[in-house]
Symmetry: C2
Subunit: 331 residues, 2 copies
């Protein structure tokens, strides 16, 4: 019998479809053809990207030259522009504003053939610290209300460049799904006087049905109302509303569980295309009690169809308890 | 300069990215390989589907035999099951219910090689009348709260069968996006004492910047805050909250504009994969004043990436005013 499950944060229902239950081998991996050719993100091609806004260089080489381990540059084809004043205006019944914002690319490694799953722990930690530094810097701009950090890995997940990278978009508005999630957490807090994410963590650590991995400070779980096969969330055990306001030691722990989780996915699903998004509060002074930052990783194994677009309602052919078994056991 | 636009119904912002503006020829059509082999939806194979729940037969042939022009059958691999009582229960902090509901397939034509865009008007009208009859019938079941009608066309849009068909899913809950849309329309109505969709129709008929096609009773438009390139909505000019409660003459007009719009898309985008979803109120007695049924057609030309999943915030590389120019002029 299929099951309808409700996400305790958003109130979003999903169908967990046991009739159609699909195992890792049922998902045919995307055909992988190396694109080849010139790569503007590779070491040595620094003049082919916009100037760097941040870089980590072990040997103090000058900006925009070789010798870096990580670079952050503006997107060459930005979806938003940083220059100008924010103008809001109407057009009849419609509302619009000019596209002020930032759009940056985090180049995670100088080497083309590496992926986040194969990078050493120190490099992954640096990726997380780069996210943190850019969020903190962009949040100083009073025009910008939210900084979104996400990664597309693989063509099917929307990555147009092969070289391992993530993206940062700073927006003059708080996106709708973000405010909905924060509102959901706030409503739960008002009802229970507890953080909904802390409650999820407590139950998952106790039940262990959906617990994929764990270290001193973090856990990764297959969420109860998973929308996608092998969807995985990473949460800090300590209640932090914002990604960028943790103690330094936490980023190492975060890097370790992210690495561990991505390696498990690679093993079980043969380097699947995936997206991840950092869910964080941009106003920890307001959301401090009720919101809890986390990462949502969504392997792209199925096609999202009209049903999902029309309703925000998902049919997931792999119960999270089965996904967890495969992932937990993978070394 | 890119533009941020707000959808007046949902409050959803999109980036209309002029820097990256993409024309129809920039979207490489999906490689089309006929799957071939046995098709359970073709005429003559009636014994290979579950028994029909509705069929149109011009010559009165018996049920589940040849001689039909349209059939509706239960999905052989249903996401939900119609048998049983609805049981709601908790699992710690989580909520779930058993997967009661209906999942049906509308086989739009007996012939494998036809598509909705190439079918004669009478057949398209019959497809719409089949939707209507099934919605009315399923709404009689007190366990079911919402009936969702949608179509996936093409592999990239999630169609697993090649033969032209749509799907109907009846749910024991109202999906989140549906209630959000109805709530958005209600809020607008309380503020303005006018239906937001009627206001959109008035402005689009007057401005004609985004008006793709029009007949006596319907119009199709590229919505102001389009999420996807060549997204198109079809709306009735008369205020009807529910798809299934129109006068009979309206379905012919609806078939005509749907046919016209799909033909234009085919011409401009070379038979693109697409999804459409009928947005309708299941409680016209409650939503009668403020809600207005419509169809949203979403060609699947770009990959939806992590950014969109994380935020409900879309980057659209084709301004709707440009999409409209191509589509309006296509014959």
């Amino acid at each position: 019998m299929p099951e309808l499950r409700k996400d305790p944060i958003h109130g979003r229902w999903v169908i967990i479809s046991t009739e159609r239950s699909r195992r890792p081998s049922d998902f045919t991996p995307e055909e992988r053809r190396p694109v080849g050719g010139f790569c503007p993100l590779c070491e040595g091609n620094e003049d082919r990207t916009p100037p760097e806004v941040l870089a980590f260089r072990d040997n103090g080489t000058p900006p925009n030259s070789s010798g870096w381990t990580l670079r952050v540059v503006s997107n060459k084809f930005p979806a938003l522009r940083i220059e100008g004043e924010l103008n809001r205006e109407g057009e009849g019944i419609y509302d619009k504003m000019n596209g002020i914002g930032a759009h940056e690319v985090v180049i995670e490694t100088p080497r083309h053939e590496e992926t986040l799953a194969t990078l050493p722990l120190k490099s992954i930690k640096n990726v997380l610290l780069a996210y943190r530094d850019r969020i903190v810097d962009l949040r100083r701009d009073p025009r910008l209300r939210y900084v979104l950090v996400f990664k597309n890995h693989g063509l099917a997940a929307g990555a147009s460049l092969e070289h391992s990278h993530s993206q940062i978009i700073a927006l003059p508005i708080v996106p709708k799904r973000v405010s909905e999630e924060i509102l959901g957490a706030k409503t739960y807090f008002h009802y229970k006087d507890r953080c909904v994410f802390c409650d999820i963590i407590r139950q998952e650590l106790q039940q262990k049905h959906r617990l994929i991995a764990e270290n001193q400070s973090f856990l990764s779980v297959a969420p109860f109302a998973s929308r996608f096969p092998f969807e995985t969330w990473i949460l800090p055990k300590t209640h932090y509303p914002s990604f960028e306001h943790m103690e330094l030691s936490q980023y190492e722990q975060a890097a370790q569980i992210l690495s561990d989780t991505l390696k498990k996915m690679n093993r079980v699903l043969t380097d699947p295309p995936y997206n991840y998004v950092i869910h964080t509060s941009s106003s920890p002074e307001v959301d401090g009690e009720h919101y809890h930052w986390h990462v949502e990783i969504m392997p792209k194994l199925t096609k999202v169809a009209g049903f999902e677009w029309g309703t925000g309602f998902y049919i997931n052919p792999t119960p999270p308890e089965e996904a967890e078994e495969y992932l937990r056991e993978a070394k």
